[in-house]
Amino acid sequence: MSFVIKTPADVRPSEITPERVYQTRRRFMHVIGAAGLASSVPAVALHTGWMDSKGFAPAPPSEDTVTPRGYATSFNNFYEFGTDKNDPAELGSRLTTEPWKVEVAGLVGKPGTYDIEDLLTGVDLEERIYRLRCVEAWSMVIPWIGFPLKTLLERFNPLGSAKYVAFTTLYRPEEMPGQRSYFSSIKYPYVEGLRLDEAYHPLAIMAVGMYGQVLPNQNGAPLRLVVPWKYGFKSIKSIVRIELTETRPRTTWNLTASNEYGFFANVNPTVHHPRWSQGSERRLPSSLFNGNRKVSTRMYNGYDEVAGLYAGMNLRLNY
């Protein structure tokens, strides 16, 4: 319910890391991360374990200013925990993410249920600073830590007949209060999907961390998709199932309101939406009076290198 807007419990001024400090800390993390000491960074007590010992390759400097971590971890759409932006940060801590298993099914040579540790062995983690454009006309810039989705999918030996990949979020109403709501029109579990050539694009990653640390629960721990050229709802969180299919999988928001949310959901300022103007976005955090940070929305969220995937397609029909 949006009756009261509370101060996000976990944004203390001390936690909103200025960009320069963040950059320094990131370098620091990289140096010590490899030695398994990342947990000595005092900011937040997060589960460490499997990720910290791996370390990651830092991203090259980004043209975009990274959103301070405190905003990215307190302003979330993760309806499994509630529909208010601060619900996931407040209620997400209930979620148990260890142990975590992922079921792999469908048109693959090696189906089965894998522990997340197994999925990450032999994987080199890298940092990617991506713009995240929400369909609600706001955006952030997030330094993810992950690896190409393609490397993951190829481990399961996809069959030639596979055309799509379908993902499922955890369904655990005991820990996810939003899944118990009587007033939600969303059917859980949340499902998403990509065409296989989209999934194989080098920009599409599986993320396990952000801001140099393990993913917080509210951001989709422990394993989530990030496809930066699509609206945020495509980047499904807390994945427990991956299936390769021949037919186009169903996707949650498309099932909820098909006139508003299509299967492709590529960021596209020219395709109007019945709720929000998609021509521009508020780059968060926006402030009230110190000059708003409205920026023009770019085709494919500025990631033009994906345009080839959609050559010849009518993007107005395939929204």
Binding site: M1, V11, I16, T67, W138, M140, R275, S286, N290
Partner: protein, 188 residues
């Protein structure tokens, strides 16, 4: 009034009160207060009838005018913070986004009510004043549609507002039926 304080804190330290997207948060908060005030306005005569306290009806004008004031601030917040003073953005929203169309309809319907709320107008219009002020019902319906169409996947708020409105409308219908029945009995 509390909100003014919150806004002051927000200006001093951005993000502290309204989160990462204060523009949206403030518009939603003001809208929430507008519909609550609208429901309070509508419930005053109901409460007066049920609890036989006819004098509280004198509060109705004040609360009704505050409803209008909040609706205006809600619209102003939308126009300045979300549409960013762009008339074309507003017109696009008005024509393409049904929830905005409904919100505008509600606001428009409240204008004649606010204008004619004075004693002077009441006297001038006589019986027609009552008739004019039944516009509050379509205004409330438009406001409810506005909130319904603005809702994405969570319908608890809409359900509560809708239930409240249904009770208030229902009470009026019951009163009418009773009055008619009463009149019938006398003429017999």
């Amino acid at each position: 009034m509390l909100m003014g304080w919150d806004v002051a804190i927000e200006i001093r330290s951005p993000g502290s009160v309204f989160g990462a997207d204060p523009a949206e948060a403030i518009v939603v908060l003001l809208g929430t207060w507008t519909i609550r005030l609208l429901l309070v306005t509508l419930s005053i005569s109901t409460v007066a009838r049920i609890f036989k306290r006819p004098r509280i009806v004198t509060l109705r004008r004040t609360v009704g005018l505050w409803t209008f004031v909040y609706a205006c601030i809600h619209f102003t917040a939308y126009f300045t913070l979300l549409a960013e003073f762009s008339i074309s953005a507003w017109l696009e929203d008005f024509s393409e986004r049904t929830y905005i169309t409904a919100g505008m309809a509600a606001l428009m319907l409240l204008i004649p009510l606010a204008v004619t709320s004075t004693r002077n107008w009441q006297r001038r219009l006589g019986l027609r004043w009552r008739k004019l002020h039944t516009l509050i019902y379509p205004a409330a319906m438009a406001a409810l549609l506005h909130v319904l169409w603005a809702a994405k996947a969570s319908f608890l708020d809409v359900f509560i507002y809708g239930l409240a409105l249904a009770i208030l409308f229902g009470e009026r219908i019951v009163v009418r039926i009773r009055r008619r029945a009463g009149r019938g009995a006398i003429s017999r």
